[in-house]
Protein backbone atom coordinates (compact mmCIF):
# COMPACT_ATOMS: atom_id res chain seq x y z
CA UNK A 1 0.00 0.00 0.00
CA UNK A 2 1.91 3.08 -1.13
CA UNK A 3 -0.45 5.38 0.75
CA UNK A 4 0.36 3.74 4.10
CA UNK A 5 4.05 3.96 3.32
CA UNK A 6 3.90 7.70 2.73
CA UNK A 7 1.94 8.18 5.93
CA UNK A 8 4.46 6.14 7.94
CA UNK A 9 7.32 8.24 6.63
CA UNK A 10 5.37 11.38 7.40
CA UNK A 11 4.50 10.81 11.08
CA UNK A 12 8.04 10.92 12.56
CA UNK A 13 8.78 14.16 10.69
CA UNK A 14 5.55 15.61 12.00
CA UNK A 15 6.67 14.76 15.55
CA UNK A 16 10.15 16.14 14.92
CA UNK A 17 9.05 19.31 13.17
CA UNK A 18 8.32 21.47 16.26
CA UNK A 19 11.77 20.80 17.73
CA UNK A 20 13.57 21.29 14.43
CA UNK A 21 11.72 24.52 13.68
CA UNK A 22 12.34 25.82 17.21
CA UNK A 23 16.06 25.12 16.97
CA UNK A 24 16.16 26.72 13.55
CA UNK A 25 14.54 29.89 14.91
CA UNK A 26 16.51 30.15 18.16
CA UNK A 27 19.87 28.65 17.13
CA UNK A 28 20.17 28.47 13.35
CA UNK A 29 18.93 31.89 12.31
CA UNK A 30 20.61 33.74 15.22
CA UNK A 31 23.97 32.27 14.16
CA UNK A 32 23.41 33.76 10.72
CA UNK A 33 22.43 36.96 12.55
CA UNK A 34 25.73 36.82 14.44
CA UNK A 35 27.61 36.54 11.15
CA UNK A 36 25.64 39.45 9.70
CA UNK A 37 26.37 41.66 12.72
CA UNK A 38 30.04 40.68 12.53
CA UNK A 39 30.34 41.91 8.94
CA UNK A 40 28.21 45.02 9.49
CA UNK A 41 30.33 48.14 9.88
CA UNK A 42 30.66 51.73 8.64
CA UNK A 43 34.17 51.00 7.43
CA UNK A 44 33.47 48.23 4.97
CA UNK A 45 32.48 44.66 5.63
CA UNK A 46 35.77 43.86 7.38
CA UNK A 47 35.66 46.98 9.58
CA UNK A 48 34.96 45.08 12.81
CA UNK A 49 37.67 42.58 12.05
CA UNK A 50 40.12 45.47 11.63
CA UNK A 51 39.20 46.75 15.11
CA UNK A 52 39.71 43.25 16.43
CA UNK A 53 43.07 42.57 14.82
CA UNK A 54 44.48 46.05 15.45
CA UNK A 55 44.70 45.48 19.20
CA UNK A 56 46.56 42.77 21.03
CA UNK A 57 43.38 41.83 22.92
CA UNK A 58 42.12 39.35 20.36
CA UNK A 59 45.46 37.53 20.10
CA UNK A 60 45.59 37.47 23.88
CA UNK A 61 42.06 36.11 24.22
CA UNK A 62 42.61 33.39 21.62
CA UNK A 63 45.97 32.48 23.13
CA UNK A 64 44.63 32.32 26.70
CA UNK A 65 41.58 30.29 25.70
CA UNK A 66 43.75 27.74 23.90
CA UNK A 67 46.46 27.80 26.57
CA UNK A 68 43.97 27.10 29.35
CA UNK A 69 42.50 24.23 27.31
CA UNK A 70 45.95 22.75 26.64
CA UNK A 71 46.92 22.93 30.32
CA UNK A 72 43.60 21.98 31.95
CA UNK A 73 42.35 19.17 29.71
CA UNK A 74 45.33 16.76 30.08
CA UNK A 75 45.26 17.20 33.88
CA UNK A 76 41.54 16.47 33.90
CA UNK A 77 41.99 13.44 31.69
CA UNK A 78 44.72 11.80 33.77
CA UNK A 79 42.89 12.59 37.01
CA UNK A 80 39.61 11.26 35.60
CA UNK A 81 41.13 7.98 34.41
CA UNK A 82 42.68 7.48 37.83
CA UNK A 83 39.43 8.32 39.65
CA UNK A 84 37.28 6.20 37.33
CA UNK A 85 39.51 3.15 37.78
CA UNK A 86 39.45 3.71 41.54
CA UNK A 87 35.64 4.06 41.75
CA UNK A 88 35.24 1.07 39.44
CA UNK A 89 37.10 -1.09 41.98
CA UNK A 90 33.78 -1.16 43.83
CA UNK A 91 35.30 -0.95 47.31
CA UNK A 92 33.07 -0.16 50.28
CA UNK A 93 31.74 3.39 49.82
CA UNK A 94 32.57 3.64 46.10
CA UNK A 95 29.02 4.82 45.33
CA UNK A 96 29.32 7.64 47.89
CA UNK A 97 32.66 8.64 46.41
CA UNK A 98 31.06 8.72 42.97
CA UNK A 99 28.47 11.24 44.18
CA UNK A 100 31.10 13.31 45.95
CA UNK A 101 33.24 13.53 42.81
CA UNK A 102 30.18 14.36 40.71
CA UNK A 103 28.95 17.11 43.06
CA UNK A 104 30.72 20.08 41.34
CA UNK A 105 28.70 19.25 38.21
CA UNK A 106 25.70 20.84 39.93
CA UNK A 107 27.53 24.14 40.22
CA UNK A 108 27.42 27.04 37.79
CA UNK A 109 30.73 28.41 36.57
CA UNK A 110 30.12 31.64 38.50
CA UNK A 111 29.30 29.70 41.69
CA UNK A 112 32.52 27.74 41.28
CA UNK A 113 34.47 30.98 40.83
CA UNK A 114 33.07 32.48 44.05
CA UNK A 115 33.78 29.26 45.97
CA UNK A 116 37.32 29.23 44.70
CA UNK A 117 37.64 32.87 45.75
CA UNK A 118 36.76 31.89 49.34
CA UNK A 119 39.97 29.85 49.37
CA UNK A 120 42.36 32.16 47.50
CA UNK A 121 41.10 35.60 48.58
CA UNK A 122 43.54 37.74 50.61
CA UNK A 123 41.49 36.83 53.69
CA UNK A 124 40.62 33.41 52.29
CA UNK A 125 41.18 30.03 53.85
CA UNK A 126 44.56 29.37 52.26
CA UNK A 127 46.03 32.59 53.67
CA UNK A 128 44.39 31.99 57.03
CA UNK A 129 45.89 28.52 57.26
CA UNK A 130 49.34 29.62 56.13
CA UNK A 131 49.29 32.57 58.56
CA UNK A 132 48.12 30.47 61.47
CA UNK A 133 51.00 28.00 61.06
CA UNK A 134 53.41 30.93 60.62
CA UNK A 135 54.39 29.83 57.14
CA UNK A 136 53.93 33.38 55.85
CA UNK A 137 53.95 36.77 57.56
CA UNK A 138 51.43 38.60 55.44
CA UNK A 139 48.71 37.35 53.08
CA UNK A 140 49.65 36.19 49.59
CA UNK A 141 47.76 38.07 46.87
CA UNK A 142 46.41 35.87 44.10
CA UNK A 143 44.25 38.43 42.37
CA UNK A 144 44.89 41.71 40.58
CA UNK A 145 46.63 42.94 37.46
CA UNK A 146 50.04 42.59 39.13
CA UNK A 147 49.55 38.90 39.83
CA UNK A 148 48.46 37.54 36.46
CA UNK A 149 50.36 34.27 36.69
CA UNK A 150 48.84 33.55 40.09
CA UNK A 151 45.40 34.37 38.71
CA UNK A 152 46.10 31.90 35.95
CA UNK A 153 47.07 29.28 38.52
CA UNK A 154 43.83 29.80 40.47
CA UNK A 155 41.77 29.60 37.26
CA UNK A 156 43.48 26.34 36.31
CA UNK A 157 42.86 24.85 39.75
CA UNK A 158 39.24 25.99 39.70
CA UNK A 159 38.66 24.51 36.25
CA UNK A 160 40.30 21.24 37.26
CA UNK A 161 38.04 21.08 40.29
CA UNK A 162 34.86 22.16 38.53
CA UNK A 163 35.08 20.32 35.23
CA UNK A 164 37.04 17.15 35.99
CA UNK A 165 33.77 15.46 37.11
CA UNK A 166 32.43 15.82 33.57
CA UNK A 167 35.37 13.94 32.08
CA UNK A 168 35.29 11.49 34.98
CA UNK A 169 31.64 10.56 34.37
CA UNK A 170 32.30 9.92 30.68
CA UNK A 171 35.39 7.80 31.36
CA UNK A 172 33.59 5.86 34.09
CA UNK A 173 30.69 5.08 31.74
CA UNK A 174 33.23 3.81 29.18
CA UNK A 175 35.01 1.76 31.82
CA UNK A 176 31.79 0.12 32.99
CA UNK A 177 30.96 -0.95 29.46
CA UNK A 178 34.25 -2.85 29.03
CA UNK A 179 33.75 -6.58 29.00
CA UNK A 180 35.25 -7.98 32.24
CA UNK A 181 36.41 -11.09 30.40
CA UNK A 182 39.18 -9.17 28.65
CA UNK A 183 40.63 -8.11 31.98
CA UNK A 184 40.23 -11.59 33.45
CA UNK A 185 41.90 -13.13 30.41
CA UNK A 186 44.83 -10.75 30.88
CA UNK A 187 45.07 -11.83 34.51
CA UNK A 188 45.14 -15.47 33.46
CA UNK A 189 48.01 -14.70 31.10
CA UNK A 190 49.92 -13.19 34.00
CA UNK A 191 49.76 -9.50 33.05
CA UNK A 192 50.73 -7.17 35.89
CA UNK A 193 48.19 -4.54 36.85
CA UNK A 194 50.33 -1.90 35.11
CA UNK A 195 50.39 -3.97 31.90
CA UNK A 196 46.64 -4.54 32.14
CA UNK A 197 46.12 -0.77 32.30
CA UNK A 198 48.32 0.01 29.27
CA UNK A 199 47.61 -3.04 27.12
CA UNK A 200 43.93 -3.71 27.83
CA UNK A 201 42.01 -1.01 29.71
CA UNK A 202 43.32 2.15 28.02
CA UNK A 203 43.06 0.81 24.43
CA UNK A 204 39.48 -0.29 25.12
CA UNK A 205 38.75 3.11 26.68
CA UNK A 206 40.00 4.96 23.60
CA UNK A 207 36.55 5.84 22.20
CA UNK A 208 35.41 7.26 25.58
CA UNK A 209 38.66 9.16 26.01
CA UNK A 210 38.34 10.61 22.52
CA UNK A 211 34.78 11.84 22.98
CA UNK A 212 35.60 13.18 26.46
CA UNK A 213 38.52 15.12 24.96
CA UNK A 214 36.40 16.57 22.18
CA UNK A 215 33.51 17.53 24.50
CA UNK A 216 35.94 19.17 26.90
CA UNK A 217 37.58 21.07 24.05
CA UNK A 218 34.16 22.31 22.93
CA UNK A 219 33.44 23.51 26.46
CA UNK A 220 36.86 25.16 26.69
CA UNK A 221 35.80 27.72 24.05
CA UNK A 222 32.87 28.67 26.29
CA UNK A 223 35.09 29.38 29.30
CA UNK A 224 33.68 32.55 30.81
CA UNK A 225 32.28 32.75 34.35
CA UNK A 226 35.33 31.45 36.20
CA UNK A 227 37.73 33.77 34.38
CA UNK A 228 35.43 36.80 34.41
CA UNK A 229 34.77 36.72 38.14
CA UNK A 230 38.27 35.75 39.27
CA UNK A 231 40.41 37.79 36.90
CA UNK A 232 38.10 40.12 34.98
CA UNK A 233 39.96 41.25 31.87
CA UNK A 234 43.41 40.68 33.38
CA UNK A 235 43.19 37.35 31.62
CA UNK A 236 41.24 37.77 28.40
CA UNK A 237 39.34 34.85 26.90
CA UNK A 238 37.12 34.73 23.80
CA UNK A 239 33.77 34.48 25.62
CA UNK A 240 34.84 37.15 28.11
CA UNK A 241 35.66 39.55 25.26
CA UNK A 242 32.24 38.89 23.70
CA UNK A 243 30.66 39.91 26.99
CA UNK A 244 32.98 42.90 27.43
CA UNK A 245 32.37 44.33 23.96
CA UNK A 246 28.62 43.98 24.27
CA UNK A 247 28.03 45.00 27.89
CA UNK A 248 30.82 47.51 28.50
CA UNK A 249 31.66 48.89 25.05
CA UNK A 250 28.08 48.72 23.80
CA UNK A 251 29.39 47.40 20.49
CA UNK A 252 27.31 44.48 19.32
CA UNK A 253 29.28 44.18 16.09
CA UNK A 254 32.70 43.52 17.58
CA UNK A 255 31.02 41.30 20.20
CA UNK A 256 29.55 39.34 17.30
CA UNK A 257 32.96 38.89 15.69
CA UNK A 258 34.13 37.20 18.90
CA UNK A 259 30.93 35.12 19.04
CA UNK A 260 31.43 34.13 15.41
CA UNK A 261 34.98 32.98 16.13
CA UNK A 262 33.72 30.86 19.03
CA UNK A 263 31.07 29.43 16.69
CA UNK A 264 33.68 28.60 14.04
CA UNK A 265 35.94 26.87 16.58
CA UNK A 266 32.89 24.95 17.83
CA UNK A 267 32.01 23.91 14.27
CA UNK A 268 35.50 22.58 13.62
CA UNK A 269 35.80 20.57 16.86
CA UNK A 270 32.10 19.63 16.68
CA UNK A 271 32.66 18.19 13.22
CA UNK A 272 35.37 15.86 14.55
CA UNK A 273 33.12 15.00 17.47
CA UNK A 274 30.20 14.07 15.22
CA UNK A 275 32.55 12.01 13.08
CA UNK A 276 33.80 9.96 16.02
CA UNK A 277 30.27 9.49 17.33
CA UNK A 278 29.09 8.36 13.91
CA UNK A 279 31.88 5.79 13.65
CA UNK A 280 30.91 4.51 17.10
CA UNK A 281 27.29 4.23 15.97
CA UNK A 282 28.42 2.20 12.97
CA UNK A 283 30.42 -0.13 15.21
CA UNK A 284 27.40 -0.62 17.45
CA UNK A 285 25.29 -1.38 14.40
CA UNK A 286 27.78 -3.96 13.17
CA UNK A 287 27.79 -5.81 16.46
Amino acid sequence: MPHMHIKKQFIPWLLLAPSLIYLLIFMGLPIIGTAKLAFESDEGWLGNFKILFSSKDFQNALWNTLLLAVIVIPIQLVLSIFLAILVNKKFKGHQTLLYIIASPLALSDITAALMSYSIFAPNGYLNRILLSINWIERPIYFFGYMFKSKEMLVIILTEVWRATPLVFVMILAGLQSINKEYIEAAEVFGFSSWQRLWKITLPLLKPSILSALLIRTLFAFQLFGVVWLLAGRDIKVLAGETYYWYVFMNNKNVASVYALIIALLTFVVGWFYIKTIRSEHLEEGAR
Binding site: P12, F91, I101, A106, L114, L166
Partner: protein, 264 residues
Protein backbone atom coordinates in the same frame (compact mmCIF):
# COMPACT_ATOMS: atom_id res chain seq x y z
CA UNK B 1 48.95 -1.25 53.35
CA UNK B 2 46.01 -1.69 50.92
CA UNK B 3 43.65 -1.57 53.88
CA UNK B 4 44.45 2.03 54.71
CA UNK B 5 44.97 3.11 51.10
CA UNK B 6 41.29 3.18 50.12
CA UNK B 7 40.07 5.16 53.14
CA UNK B 8 43.01 7.55 52.74
CA UNK B 9 42.30 8.11 49.05
CA UNK B 10 38.59 8.47 49.83
CA UNK B 11 39.28 11.26 52.31
CA UNK B 12 41.73 13.07 50.04
CA UNK B 13 39.42 12.94 47.02
CA UNK B 14 36.37 13.94 49.07
CA UNK B 15 38.30 16.90 50.51
CA UNK B 16 39.29 18.06 47.03
CA UNK B 17 35.84 17.81 45.45
CA UNK B 18 33.66 18.83 48.42
CA UNK B 19 36.12 21.13 50.18
CA UNK B 20 35.57 24.36 48.23
CA UNK B 21 31.78 24.00 48.49
CA UNK B 22 31.82 23.40 52.23
CA UNK B 23 34.36 26.17 52.86
CA UNK B 24 32.30 28.66 50.83
CA UNK B 25 29.19 27.67 52.82
CA UNK B 26 31.04 28.35 56.06
CA UNK B 27 32.41 31.63 54.69
CA UNK B 28 28.89 32.72 53.75
CA UNK B 29 27.84 32.25 57.39
CA UNK B 30 30.89 33.84 58.99
CA UNK B 31 30.04 37.01 60.97
CA UNK B 32 31.30 40.18 59.26
CA UNK B 33 33.38 41.09 62.30
CA UNK B 34 35.47 37.93 61.97
CA UNK B 35 36.18 38.31 58.26
CA UNK B 36 39.45 40.15 58.62
CA UNK B 37 40.44 38.54 61.87
CA UNK B 38 43.29 36.21 60.94
CA UNK B 39 43.75 34.75 64.40
CA UNK B 40 41.60 31.72 63.68
CA UNK B 41 40.68 29.82 60.55
CA UNK B 42 37.06 28.99 61.24
CA UNK B 43 34.48 31.39 62.73
CA UNK B 44 33.44 31.17 66.39
CA UNK B 45 29.74 31.19 65.40
CA UNK B 46 27.63 30.97 62.25
CA UNK B 47 25.06 33.49 61.07
CA UNK B 48 22.48 33.68 58.29
CA UNK B 49 22.72 37.48 58.28
CA UNK B 50 24.51 37.81 54.90
CA UNK B 51 22.24 35.38 53.10
CA UNK B 52 19.19 37.17 54.50
CA UNK B 53 20.53 40.55 53.46
CA UNK B 54 21.43 39.31 50.00
CA UNK B 55 17.96 37.88 49.48
CA UNK B 56 15.73 40.46 51.13
CA UNK B 57 17.63 43.76 51.02
CA UNK B 58 19.82 43.49 47.93
CA UNK B 59 17.26 42.12 45.48
CA UNK B 60 18.48 38.53 45.52
CA UNK B 61 15.04 37.11 46.19
CA UNK B 62 13.50 38.90 43.22
CA UNK B 63 16.28 37.56 40.99
CA UNK B 64 15.74 34.10 42.45
CA UNK B 65 12.05 34.25 41.51
CA UNK B 66 12.96 35.34 37.97
CA UNK B 67 15.38 32.40 37.81
CA UNK B 68 12.68 29.95 38.84
CA UNK B 69 10.22 31.46 36.37
CA UNK B 70 12.75 31.27 33.53
CA UNK B 71 13.72 27.69 34.38
CA UNK B 72 10.09 26.50 34.60
CA UNK B 73 9.06 28.13 31.31
CA UNK B 74 12.15 26.85 29.51
CA UNK B 75 11.75 23.24 30.64
CA UNK B 76 8.02 23.40 29.80
CA UNK B 77 8.83 24.51 26.23
CA UNK B 78 11.72 22.09 25.85
CA UNK B 79 9.68 19.10 27.05
CA UNK B 80 6.51 19.97 25.15
CA UNK B 81 8.52 20.08 21.92
CA UNK B 82 11.18 17.53 22.80
CA UNK B 83 9.07 14.57 23.97
CA UNK B 84 7.34 13.99 20.59
CA UNK B 85 10.71 14.33 18.84
CA UNK B 86 12.37 11.89 21.23
CA UNK B 87 9.47 9.48 20.78
CA UNK B 88 9.79 9.71 16.98
CA UNK B 89 13.51 8.91 17.14
CA UNK B 90 12.89 5.97 19.48
CA UNK B 91 9.92 4.36 17.75
CA UNK B 92 10.09 5.02 14.03
CA UNK B 93 12.59 3.93 11.42
CA UNK B 94 12.80 6.57 8.72
CA UNK B 95 15.28 8.01 6.30
CA UNK B 96 17.28 10.88 7.77
CA UNK B 97 16.99 9.62 11.35
CA UNK B 98 20.75 9.44 11.88
CA UNK B 99 21.16 12.93 10.48
CA UNK B 100 18.57 14.27 12.96
CA UNK B 101 20.27 12.54 15.90
CA UNK B 102 23.65 13.91 14.91
CA UNK B 103 22.17 17.38 14.38
CA UNK B 104 20.75 17.25 17.92
CA UNK B 105 24.13 16.19 19.35
CA UNK B 106 25.77 18.99 17.42
CA UNK B 107 23.27 21.66 18.52
CA UNK B 108 23.76 20.39 22.07
CA UNK B 109 27.39 21.49 21.86
CA UNK B 110 26.68 24.99 20.52
CA UNK B 111 26.89 27.48 23.39
CA UNK B 112 24.31 30.26 23.80
CA UNK B 113 27.29 32.65 23.72
CA UNK B 114 27.30 32.50 19.91
CA UNK B 115 23.64 33.54 19.58
CA UNK B 116 22.99 35.83 22.58
CA UNK B 117 23.99 39.17 21.05
CA UNK B 118 22.19 38.48 17.80
CA UNK B 119 19.08 37.37 19.74
CA UNK B 120 18.95 40.76 21.52
CA UNK B 121 18.54 42.58 18.20
CA UNK B 122 15.62 40.29 17.34
CA UNK B 123 14.14 40.56 20.84
CA UNK B 124 14.13 44.38 20.66
CA UNK B 125 11.84 44.14 17.66
CA UNK B 126 9.41 41.78 19.41
CA UNK B 127 9.47 43.40 22.84
CA UNK B 128 11.14 40.35 24.32
CA UNK B 129 14.29 42.10 25.53
CA UNK B 130 14.62 42.21 29.31
CA UNK B 131 11.77 39.76 29.91
CA UNK B 132 11.78 36.41 31.69
CA UNK B 133 10.09 34.90 28.61
CA UNK B 134 12.91 36.10 26.37
CA UNK B 135 15.59 34.46 28.53
CA UNK B 136 13.42 31.33 28.85
CA UNK B 137 13.07 31.05 25.05
CA UNK B 138 16.87 31.07 24.72
CA UNK B 139 17.32 28.59 27.57
CA UNK B 140 14.73 26.31 25.96
CA UNK B 141 16.91 26.23 22.83
CA UNK B 142 19.81 25.14 25.05
CA UNK B 143 17.79 22.42 26.83
CA UNK B 144 15.79 21.12 23.85
CA UNK B 145 18.50 19.04 22.10
CA UNK B 146 19.32 17.49 25.46
CA UNK B 147 15.64 16.62 26.01
CA UNK B 148 15.30 15.06 22.54
CA UNK B 149 18.40 12.87 23.04
CA UNK B 150 17.41 11.86 26.57
CA UNK B 151 13.72 11.14 25.89
CA UNK B 152 14.56 9.11 22.79
CA UNK B 153 16.79 6.93 24.94
CA UNK B 154 14.17 6.67 27.69
CA UNK B 155 11.44 5.62 25.25
CA UNK B 156 13.80 3.11 23.63
CA UNK B 157 14.18 1.46 27.02
CA UNK B 158 10.38 1.11 27.41
CA UNK B 159 9.50 -2.11 25.58
CA UNK B 160 7.57 -1.49 22.39
CA UNK B 161 5.77 -4.82 23.08
CA UNK B 162 3.82 -3.17 25.92
CA UNK B 163 2.51 -0.52 23.56
CA UNK B 164 1.67 -3.13 20.94
CA UNK B 165 -0.19 -5.18 23.55
CA UNK B 166 -2.20 -2.08 24.44
CA UNK B 167 -3.01 -1.55 20.78
CA UNK B 168 -4.15 -5.17 20.46
CA UNK B 169 -6.60 -4.43 23.28
CA UNK B 170 -8.03 -1.52 21.37
CA UNK B 171 -5.91 1.50 22.26
CA UNK B 172 -4.87 3.86 19.50
CA UNK B 173 -1.15 4.53 19.05
CA UNK B 174 -1.59 7.87 20.85
CA UNK B 175 -3.67 6.19 23.58
CA UNK B 176 -0.99 3.54 24.02
CA UNK B 177 1.62 6.28 24.33
CA UNK B 178 -0.38 8.21 26.95
CA UNK B 179 -1.55 5.20 28.97
CA UNK B 180 1.47 2.90 28.71
CA UNK B 181 4.78 4.40 27.57
CA UNK B 182 4.48 7.79 29.24
CA UNK B 183 3.78 6.45 32.77
CA UNK B 184 6.65 3.95 32.41
CA UNK B 185 8.98 6.71 31.23
CA UNK B 186 7.85 9.19 33.87
CA UNK B 187 10.61 8.74 36.50
CA UNK B 188 13.29 9.20 33.88
CA UNK B 189 11.48 12.16 32.37
CA UNK B 190 11.11 13.78 35.81
CA UNK B 191 14.82 13.34 36.49
CA UNK B 192 15.67 14.88 33.11
CA UNK B 193 13.32 17.77 33.81
CA UNK B 194 15.13 18.47 37.08
CA UNK B 195 18.42 18.32 35.22
CA UNK B 196 17.05 20.75 32.63
CA UNK B 197 16.00 23.02 35.48
CA UNK B 198 19.58 23.09 36.77
CA UNK B 199 20.94 23.81 33.27
CA UNK B 200 18.75 26.92 33.12
CA UNK B 201 19.36 27.85 36.78
CA UNK B 202 23.13 27.87 36.21
CA UNK B 203 23.23 29.71 32.87
CA UNK B 204 24.72 33.19 33.27
CA UNK B 205 25.96 34.46 29.90
CA UNK B 206 22.78 34.61 27.81
CA UNK B 207 20.75 35.66 30.84
CA UNK B 208 23.08 38.64 31.38
CA UNK B 209 23.00 39.68 27.74
CA UNK B 210 19.24 39.30 27.30
CA UNK B 211 18.10 41.13 30.44
CA UNK B 212 18.98 44.30 32.30
CA UNK B 213 16.31 44.88 34.95
CA UNK B 214 14.64 41.48 35.19
CA UNK B 215 17.82 39.60 35.87
CA UNK B 216 18.05 35.95 36.82
CA UNK B 217 20.09 35.12 39.90
CA UNK B 218 23.33 34.20 38.06
CA UNK B 219 23.01 37.31 35.86
CA UNK B 220 22.46 39.42 38.99
CA UNK B 221 25.53 37.86 40.57
CA UNK B 222 27.67 38.31 37.48
CA UNK B 223 26.82 42.01 37.46
CA UNK B 224 27.24 42.70 41.17
CA UNK B 225 29.56 40.09 42.75
CA UNK B 226 32.94 41.70 42.29
CA UNK B 227 31.79 45.04 43.69
CA UNK B 228 30.23 43.39 46.76
CA UNK B 229 31.90 42.74 50.12
CA UNK B 230 33.39 39.25 50.35
CA UNK B 231 30.69 37.83 52.62
CA UNK B 232 28.04 38.66 50.02
CA UNK B 233 30.08 36.88 47.35
CA UNK B 234 29.98 33.71 49.42
CA UNK B 235 26.31 34.21 50.28
CA UNK B 236 25.67 34.35 46.50
CA UNK B 237 27.59 31.12 45.99
CA UNK B 238 25.56 29.45 48.75
CA UNK B 239 22.21 30.62 47.42
CA UNK B 240 23.13 29.37 43.92
CA UNK B 241 24.62 26.07 45.05
CA UNK B 242 22.21 24.77 47.69
CA UNK B 243 19.13 24.25 45.46
CA UNK B 244 21.24 22.78 42.64
CA UNK B 245 22.99 20.34 45.00
CA UNK B 246 19.68 19.26 46.55
CA UNK B 247 18.16 18.66 43.12
CA UNK B 248 21.21 16.77 41.92
CA UNK B 249 21.06 14.65 45.07
CA UNK B 250 17.37 13.83 44.46
CA UNK B 251 18.08 12.55 40.96
CA UNK B 252 21.44 10.95 41.80
CA UNK B 253 20.30 7.45 40.70
CA UNK B 254 19.63 8.78 37.19
CA UNK B 255 22.61 11.05 36.82
CA UNK B 256 25.10 8.62 35.36
CA UNK B 257 22.69 7.46 32.68
CA UNK B 258 21.62 11.05 31.92
CA UNK B 259 25.24 12.08 31.45
CA UNK B 260 26.16 8.83 29.74
CA UNK B 261 23.46 9.42 27.14
CA UNK B 262 23.56 13.17 26.69
CA UNK B 263 27.34 13.55 26.64
CA UNK B 264 28.10 10.32 24.81
Amino acid sequence: MMKIMYPLLFVLIALFFLGPTVLAFIASMTPASEFYDYSHIFPSRLTLEHINKLLFTLGGFKALLVSIEVALISIAIAFALGIPAGYALARYAFRGKNAVTLAMLFTRSLPLIVVSVSLVTVYLRFNLADTAIGVALAHAAMILPFVVIITSSIFSSVFIEYEEAGMVFGLTRFGAFIRISLPLALPGLAASAIYGFIMSWNEAFAASILSIQNRTLPAHILATAMASPDYFKYAMATVMAVPALIFIFIIRKYLISIWGISLK
